[in-house]
């Protein structure tokens, strides 16, 4: 492997990886495609290219055009379904080395974070993990910002002498744009460079339930370790508020709630109008994922929990009492008969 640097002027386009599983596109892909358009404008003149890898993914390529891609590169082959790191990494690496993009953005999902290194290492690219802000610096290089040490610090990572400049981006930090009615981009099918015989892994079984998307929710009720595995009170409150259920890492690690609903570092970033934290102490890793919420409410039995310093409204009390009582009050208030009475 060469240790030298590259002629960075030969690298031009901005690439966005479109993550697809079983025909569904991960929302973060559309968020990145939208955000990447501003990078293309800041850099001036290069194209925005979407990469679609999977089997029978023509319709997803069309969607990527409608979402703003100038070009869509499609690697369509049974070897890519379901997802595996080794064939994805090999195909992606080949395309990067052949076509030399300047910037490559990948959603920071378990999939994106799994294979990004398999591209960056052989390509000798700079790879920054879990970014929450991106922009082009005055020197023309990508400035990828990421929280460090639980979010107290925002570090700017740059890659000045290697290409491409790669980054995985945390889901939910950028907004997706709606698809356009028409688009004039082009779709190009690329050659598959890996065969089933060359793969190192075999998926024996996949069990995917309903994948929740909490990043778009206007209201969220989030639960932490305080619920002790009993989700009934928070589910009731979430229904009364017409809110999505979310969780702290603790509740996810305990297996009470699926990872797709985790807020914070290693989870999702959310920015709802209302965020109700129930039985969540408020570790910085959690706050990092929700501190852009408009109004934060804290329900916790520990008056010293840090969540209270990070909430607009707080109540010190047992969540098993507060949640049902609050849910009842809210439902009663919604009932016009009660208001009249």
């Amino acid at each position: 492997m060469s240790g030298g640097t590259v002629d960075i002027d030969e690298y031009e386009d901005v690439w966005v990886f479109i993550e697809e599983h079983d025909g569904d596109v991960a929302q973060v892909s559309w968020e990145l495609l939208n955000e990447a358009q501003s990078l293309v404008e800041q850099k001036d003149s290069e194209r925005l290219v979407a990469l679609v890898i999977g089997e029978d993914v023509e319709d997803i390529a069309d969607k990527a055009l409608a979402r703003g891609a100038d070009q869509v590169l499609v690697a369509d082959d049974p070897v890519f379904e379901p997802y595996r790191a080794d064939p994805y990494g090999e195909q992606f690496r080949h395309m990067v080395e052949e076509r030399q993009p300047d910037i490559v953005l990948i959603g920071g999902t378990t999939t994106g974070r799994d294979f990004a290194g398999r591209v960056a290492v052989p390509a000798y690219a700079g790879l920054t993990a879990d970014c929450t802000e991106i922009g082009i610096g005055p020197d023309g290089h990508l400035e990828a910002r990421r929280p460090a040490f639980g979010g107290d610090i925002l570090a700017t990572i740059k890659c000045e002498q290697h290409r491409p400049q790669m980054a995985t981006i945390r889901p939910g930090v950028f907004e997706a744009a709606p698809p356009a009615d028409d688009s004039d981009g082009e779709i190009e099918r690329v050659e598959t460079v890996i065969s089933e015989e060359e793969t190192l892994t075999e998926v024996l079984e996949r069990d995917i339930g309903e994948t929740a998307d909490i990043t778009d929710a206007e209201r969220i009720v989030a639960v932490g370790g305080g619920c002790d595995g009993d989700l009934e009170p928070v589910t009731e409150l979430a229904e009364a508020l017409d809110a999505e259920l979310a969780a702290s890492r603790k509740a996810v690690d305990e297996g009470w709630i699926q990872h797709a609903r985790q807020v914070g570092q290693t989870g999702k970033t959310v920015r709802p109008e209302l965020y109700v934290a129930v039985g969540i102490s408020g570790a910085v890793q959690h706050l990092e994922g929700m501190n852009d919420s408009d109004v934060v409410v804290a329900i916790n039995n520990d008056p010293n929990a840090p969540i209270f310093e990070n909430a607009d409204i707080g109540i010190v009390g047992d969540l098993f009492d507060v949640c049902p009582a609050l849910a009842k009050r809210l439902q009663d208030a919604d009932d016009p008969q009660e208001v009249i009475a």
Binding site: D114, T128, A129, T156, E202, R206, Q258, T266, L274
Partner: protein
């Protein structure tokens, strides 16, 4: 008797996250004052490595890349039950980002002819999670990340893992050698046994391997060979919140109705 599998567990000494302060004048992290601890997710990696011994005749070796003297984490690994612990240390490694770090650990694993390399999900001091896939990529080995459970299949030279994926899980069989990143908190790390602990503290002295020992060209490690550089850091301003503590549910409901109309 030779062992069927060699399992190498990559572990790291990190500053205690609860102990890292921010210099109020410069806004930069003050890591030097913090106590050095074993990266917490690495305990899950050590446990997963030691559990392989339950089903396979395996030797488990902990390796750690760090400054000279960063051997306490290796002592912990040996006390938990690892057969050996080795420090990988060289001035040339200083300032490495994930690219040369994963190269160095890959060569470290190769030095021991590893069949299985196990790491924690990520480190608490840099939180990239990029090193395990990086190790696999440098060597062209299979990888299994976000692993919940391992099932060795020595008869097929395969390791099967249950992995966490968005919305569910999957079971994947990987050819050896394979790099595993164990999900943080996915198993219950065993406490150190008393005799093993006494041995680790009194009699264990880790070998030290440098770049030459591992056959690593010093031009492709360290800060100069790292594609990414930290271009600056700033303290995140905390969001100002009202901090209004209410006395009862009635008041809470009233306030909520104000903000949700």
């Amino acid at each position: 008797m030779t062992n069927e599998w060699t399992v190498v567990v990559g572990i790291k000494q990190v500053p205690d996250a609860d102990d890292v302060s921010i210099d109020p004048d410069t806004g930069t992290l003050n890591r030097s004052d913090a106590a050095a601890v074993l990266n917490p997710p690495d305990r899950n990696a050590l446990e997963a490595g030691l559990e392989i011994k339950d089903g396979v005749d395996a030797e488990v070796i902990a390796i750690s890349m760090g400054p000279p003297g960063a051997t306490d984490v290796l002592e912990t690994a040996v006390a938990m039950g690892c057969d050996d612990g080795v420090l990988i240390s060289d001035r040339a490694f200083a300032g490495s980002d994930t690219w040369p770090t994963s190269l160095t650990l890959a060569e470290g694993a190769d030095y021991f002819d590893a069949d299985v390399v196990i790491c924690g999900e990520e480190t608490t001091d840099s939180s990239t999670g990029q090193v395990p896939p990086g190790i696999a990529a440098h060597k062209g080995w299979a990888q299994l990340t976000y692993v919940e459970e391992l099932e060795p299949r020595p008869e097929d030279d395969q390791l099967v893992a249950q992995r966490d994926v968005e919305g569910g899980y999957e079971r994947v069989a990987a050819d050896l050698p394979v790099v595993v990143a164990v999900g943080y908190g996915e198993n219950h790390p065993r406490p150190a046994g008393l005799h093993r602990k006494i041995f680790a503290e009194n009699d264990f002295e880790p070998d030290v391997l440098d770049a030459d020992d591992l056959g690593i060209d010093k031009d492709i490690v360290g800060l100069p060979a790292s594609p990414t550089k930290v271009g600056g850091q700033e303290t995140v301003e905390s969001v100002e919140r009202e901090g209004d503590i209410v006395d009862d549910v009635d008041e809470l409901a009233a306030k909520l109705e104000e903000v949700t109309v």
